[in-house]
Subunit: 330 residues, 2 copies
């Protein structure tokens, strides 16, 4: 299929073309490949914010308020709501919630929900591609929101420049609920609902947690994941009120500070290199897995191996080695 017409429309800032291209990259990895191939040279202008928080932390109101601030500054904003836990509903409804809540028209805001369903090659892969489409669409800020559970979010946040985690006073275990992998890549902790008692206690909890994890994270993360951590960025903490907008100025200053840090400290290039590596690895894993799955499901030699494993005259590791030999990958 030829996507040049749609891509031309995308480059001209046509929101309908954005929506159609996103659906294409979500559902068809061959289309994704062709589309990204065609638009890649236009990417690289957007700043990507990863935002997460446990249920009840007020993510949608927070994102709504932040979006309005950026929109008032004349910025074009893309919002991607990723819900890996929801294959059935087709994703979160943040988009609708924001639209309903706000009277003023957010014509410079593009909102898209993504769920697990139909995500060929993984949600992280699809999210990367949607980020690129919104980037080429001309978004200055792209917000990637996830529900904050498990490894898939960590993968998704590899494409974010700044990672913001939302916590609330009182919810005693929300720090635990945010999975460890995400805590380690968080740049800014936001304590939402600062009017509630316990906001300062929560800040103290975060500080304590940061101290505790500091030693752990260096040994547990892979080298490439450590680049930002080792680059001396100390996670910032800020308390805000998403309903009144209190302290959002401070928050956006912190985001700018982190952005400056990334460029000034020279880690941006390393960061981008690692992002590309990780993205390519995702694509490679998908392609190679598909190839191997295809081989396993049809090849008569593999059927013979399977029989041997079922007879216990071969074990799965040895079978894997034989397949690697078969693939010429030794």
């Amino acid at each position: 299929m030829d996507y040049s017409d749609l891509i031309q429309k995308l480059l001209n800032g046509n929101a309908r073309a954005v929506a159609r291209l996103i659906t294409l990259v979500e559902n068809d990895i061959v289309a994704a490949e062709n589309i990204i191939n065609a638009i890649y040279s236009h990417t690289g202008n957007a700043y990507i914010l990863g935002i997460t928080g446990s249920p009840g932390s007020g993510k949608s109101t927070f994102i709504s308020t932040l979006t309005k601030i950026y929109a008032k500054q004349g910025k074009k904003i893309g919002i991607i709501c990723v819900d890996p836990t929801s294959p059935l509903t087709g994703g979160a409804l943040l988009g609708d919630r924001i639209r309903m809540k706000d009277n003023f028209s957010l014509k410079n805001v593009f909102i898209r929900s993504m769920a697990n369903r139909g995500q060929l090659g993984g949600l992280a892969r699809a999210t990367e591609d949607v980020v690129k489409i919104l980037d080429v669409y001309g978004c200055d800020i792209i917000i990637v929101e996830t529900v904050g559970v498990g490894q898939s979010e960590v993968d998704i946040f590899k494409s974010a420049h700044s990672v913001v985690v939302l916590l609330v006073p009182g919810l005693g275990d929300d720090i635990q609920a945010i999975k460890a992998g995400i805590m380690e890549i968080t740049d800014i902790f936001v304590v939402n609902k600062m009017d509630l008692s316990g906001a300062d206690k929560k800040i103290a909890d975060i500080m304590q947690m940061l101290e505790l994890r500091m030693n752990y994270k260096y040994e547990s993360l892979k080298d490439e994941e450590n680049i930002l951590l080792k680059s001396n960025w100390t996670p910032e903490i800020v308390k805000i009120n998403s309903i009144t907008g209190e302290n959002f100025e401070k928050l956006t200053e912190l985001i700018d500070k982190h952005r400056d840090f990334l460029s000034k400290s020279g880690v941006m290039a390393d960061y981008q290199k690692n992002r590309i590596k990780s993205e390519t690895l995702q694509i490679l894993k998908h392609k190679i897995t598909k190839k191997v799955e295809g081989l396993i499901s049809s090849n008569p030699t593999i059927d013979e191996y399977l029989r041997l494993v079922m007879d216990k005259s071969l074990d799965p590791y040895s079978m894997a080695n034989l397949i690697i030999k078969l693939l010429g990958l030794e």
Copy 2:
């Protein structure tokens, strides 16, 4: 390293050898490969129960009660507590909790906690290997307990013969909390704390959910995942009380019923074939990913590709294709 001494002790039913072999397969995939290679022909005797439930559903009391029943029947039981969300603490403490709670000695019970930390090749891979060790150790029943979040559990449960999901009355959203992928592979739903009001309401909720999902699951799961679903097993529902032990007889009957079903309906062979396929695929993914990661991190040609992607004269998909060519995998 030579593991033959440890393996001989394992075959003789030495619990210390079990513990040491588990540590080895957890931390060293080469050791895992050698150990599984040596013991594989002795596997295949244990019945594997996958048990999950949301936090607060009372998993540890439930498993404790079930274990006591099986122990009284003279069965040897292995319990593996898998907590993929806890890289820091080193896993759940169910083992200790069970030990503390029960006065009588469970000398035929082997308990092991596993967490993400140090799981080379993935928690699912390591869990499969630990299951095999406990199988060879002579366990009649192996209980694999997980916290019930995300895709990793679905992978872990691929090795279970019967999947049991624990729910409780009142907790309105625990059905949602159990991720969709697990609901689809559940064989027996257990409503714990049946003395609480709302137990029958919960059963009605489960039935409704099952009806809703019935159509969805056939289209969303892969063919091999559908084998059991298409084999006409209708998920059973039972309400129990883990503290008094009420209805546990009925529960164990349902487990036996499912076990009979698996063998009588002839799906066991298909099931085992798919289990081996999925396990081999896990190992293959790990091995190939390692190879590709190694290539990406050191190869000068890849560095050149990376530069091109950073210059936007190449996109990640095209880079992936070039690497596949480089690997001779086209």
